[in-house]
């Protein structure tokens, strides 16, 4: 029926308002929905991409607003292959919360999960977190790092493609062994 060879679950976390939903919509639909509230009834979005002539299906899960009062269910993290932790480069508090998010990730996500740190909203001029600060944080915690703009479609494609490629590599490696 469906012609894909790999299916990966990717979940997004991070404070409310950092642009998680915008990243997903930009990637899956090519849209930037400004000022939208919570999306009712949308659980996860799907996009199939080509990596080395193979079809890779990414199932991208959003928080459903449960991050607002720090009430994300543990089951959200289960069986995720990749985890994108997002902060807003123009909002210091969203960066300051990263250690809290990491604690939650370590507790509930698989130890093998691919972790990516994303500083979003680089289109904004009131930057508060310099790139190197994000980079250093990512390095310290063994994560990939990327800065993006969902609004200007900058690095969004790259972010998800990188994840798809890496997950496929891991998956192939496991298959071969």
């Amino acid at each position: 029926m469906d012609d894909y060879k790999f299916l990966f679950k990717v979940v997004l976390v991070g404070n409310a308002g950092v642009g998680k939903t915008c990243l997903v919509r930009r990637f899956t639909q090519g849209l930037f929905p400004p000022g939208q509230g919570a999306t009712i009834g949308v659980d996860f979005m799907i996009k199939t991409v080509d990596v080395d002539n193979e079809k890779v299906k990414l199932q991208i899960w959003d928080t459903a607003g449960q991050e607002r009062f720090r009430s994300i269910t543990q089951s959200y993290y289960r069986s995720a292959h990749a985890l994108i932790l997002v902060y807003d480069i123009s909002c210091q508090p969203t960066f300051d919360c990263l250690p809290d998010w990491l604690r939650e990730i370590e507790e509930y996500a698989s130890s093998k999960v691919l972790r990516v740190l994303v500083g979003n909203k680089i289109d904004r001029e009131d930057r508060e977190i310099p790139t190197h600060v994000g980079e250093e944080f990512a390095e310290r915690h063994n994560m990939y790092f990327l800065e993006t703009s969902a609004k200007e479609a900058e690095n969004v494609e790259k972010l998800f493609m990188q994840i798809a490629e890496d997950l496929m590599k891991v998956s192939r490696f496991l298959c071969d062994n």
Binding site: Q66, F69, R78, H81
Partner: protein, 557 residues
């Protein structure tokens, strides 16, 4: 990140137990503005799962907060939230192994990545080593199994909630017979493969199964008689009576015939859908179930807030619920639904009279060792004045305990105390010594859950307030679904209960790539295009060919 909660809702739900969560999902699903709120910092209430660290910190204290009075009008009254009737009782944990290794040689492994801590076979298990792996435990307060064709599984599928959790099938059903563990023959192939059952017994058992399946109504003559009497009249041998009475129908000597027949049919009907037995277990523990419903509620706009400083409920002078006080906020809604354990004591007319006795053990091997890891249900019959016990043994493939260890749950209707009620099971199944063949208990936890299911939770409760009972003694969730559905229909008559949530795309969530042996992993999807379980099930299916159309097997790609 201090956000204020919105202050106007259609319905507020306090507590994240199973029934509350199902109602929350159902209300959000039809577009109601739902606030689902809990004073706990975890989901699930009395149905939750905890890791090893968190379960040690479980305390039964119910804190009463004084509400700010300026939020309450002069003609309103308030009731403080929370009562002590339904909190866990007799809670007790114990270690049965040394704290640390005696030789200090493993000090240098301290830095090792905790995720990769492969246990060397000879390395003794210590408190410290278990605590280090503590996050890999998911210890249920109220462990449940689901009948493969029960109401709950049908609801998961019809509402599309199945995608939020993963399941494994129970791979064997055991019972305690003549002083030892025996495998209960469930399906036709089991019956024939069982070398403890004689050829004549095999025929008897198949005849009984087929008679029940074909709608034979001979049992109608047993109106006021017991199921045991029926089975005895069928001339079954004592061991067959044991299998059918205590295991397959989960009955007692007193169970009436009709009930026993219904239970047996229910068991047989759920065979052959997934796995070798009629039962499923939700991976990472039963606590995931409430979260699945909460996720659906959130996806449809429900607002979620744990760890909230809930202080009191506000009522007008006609005793209608108006709202509640949470921190410094007053939040209003038309309806209030809450777990009985959250209710003001004034709403509870009678304290619980019966309790669920519970024990949880971490052990070093299975109660019945085998090549592959089993997910075991042991139905321990009533014995010497003790009630029957349900025992569920979980291995690492269920995501509830680390490698090479087992988590064993014991459940029974309490007679004296959990420790006393399970004493005989513990003596028969486990050992205190290292080199015995029986598993050794490394850690134990005992507690009692007050059973609020038989109580009147309506009298004296204001009209727009509903109290939900906590965990029951049932093996499964079917009764909880019925209760949630009834409450929902009372609140919102003539609306659909959890209609199918739209599919982002027709997808199958594969398990992660970890080294599981897959044959018990289960994907729940609607019947017409699935029942696609691993190949070993083809065998199980043909056991049941009266029930399952043959074509179902042809969907395997």
């Amino acid at each position: 990140m201090e956000y204020e909660l919105p202050t106007e809702f259609d319905i507020i739900i306090i507590g994240t137990g199973v029934i509350e969560s199902i109602i929350s999902a159902a209300a959000s699903r039809i577009g109601k503005r739902v606030l689902h709120i809990d004073s706990n910092n975890y989901y699930g209430g009395l149905w939750a799962s905890f890791n090893l660290d968190a379960i040690h910190k479980l305390s039964a204290n119910t804190e009463v907060l004084d509400p700010p009075t300026d939020l309450i009008n002069p003609d309103e009254t308030t009731f403080a939230l929370g009562n002590d009737f339904f909190s866990l009782k007799n809670f007790k944990t114990d270690w049965h192994i040394p704290k640390a290794e005696t030789q200090p040689e493993n000090e240098n492994v301290e830095e090792k990545n905790e995720t990769e801590s492969e246990e060397k076979p000879e390395k003794p298990i210590t408190q410290d080593s278990l605590i280090k792996d503590g996050r890999k435990f998911n210890i249920d307060l109220a462990p449940k199994l689901q009948f493969a064709r029960g109401e709950f599984v049908e609801l998961l599928i019809s509402s599309n909630i199945a995608r939020y959790s993963e399941y494994r099938s129970v791979s064997r059903v055991l019972t305690w017979l003549n002083g030892q563990l025996e495998t209960v023959p469930c399906s036709r192939s089991d019956v024939f493969a069982n070398n403890k059952v004689t050829v004549i017994e095999k025929r008897m058992l198949m005849k009984l199964f087929m008679a029940l399946d074909s709608g034979d109504q001979e049992y109608l003559n047993y109106d006021n008689k017991t199921f045991r009497a029926f089975l005895t009249d069928k001339k079954l041998t004592p061991s067959l009576i044991h299998y059918v009475l205590y295991a397959i129908s989960m009955s007692t000597d007193e169970t009436l015939c009709l009930q026993g027949i219904q239970n047996t049919k229910r068991f047989l009907d759920s065979l052959g859908r997934f796995g070798k037995t009629p039962f499923l277990f939700s991976m990472y523990g039963s606590g995931e179930i409430t979260q699945a419903f909460c996720r659906l509620s959130a996806v449809f706009g429900g607002i979620y807030a744990l760890s909230q400083p809930l202080s009191s409920l506000i009522f007008d002078n006609e005793n209608n619920f108006k709202g509640l006080i949470c921190g410094k906020q007053r939040i209003s809604a038309e309806f209030l639904v809450m777990g009985a354990e959250k209710a003001p004591p004034e709403f509870i007319k009678s304290p619980p009279r019966s309790f669920i006795a519970r024990a949880v053990f971490i052990t070093d091997r299975s109660i019945m060792s085998s090549e592959k890891e089993h997910l075991t249900l042991l139905l321990y019959p009533p014995e010497g004045g003790k009630n029957s016990c349900v025992i569920i043994e979980l291995g690492t493939l269920t995501g509830t305990c680390p490698k090479d260890l087992y988590l064993v749950h014991l459940i029974s209707q309490q007679v004296a105390s959990p420790e006393d009620d399970f004493k005989h099971c513990v003596e028969n199944l486990f050992s205190k010594f290292e080199d015995d063949k029986k598993p050794k208990i490394l850690w134990s936890c005992f507690f009692s859950i007050p059973d609020s299911n038989a109580l009147d939770l309506k009298t004296g409760v204001p009209g727009n307030v509903v109290l939900c009972p906590g965990p029951d003694l049932d093996l499964d969730y079917d009764d909880a679904v019925k209760k949630a559905k009834a409450i929902f229909s009372d609140l919102y008559p003539d609306t659909e209960f959890l209609p199918r949530a739209p599919d982002p795309e027709d997808i199958i969530i594969e398990g992660d790539t970890e080294d599981r042996n897959d044959e018990d992993e289960v994907v729940l999807k609607p019947e017409e295009n699935t029942d696609k379980v691993a190949e070993s099930e083809t065998e199980a299916k043909s056991d049941n060919d009266q029930e399952v159309p043959k074509s179902e097997n042809e969907h395997e790609e």
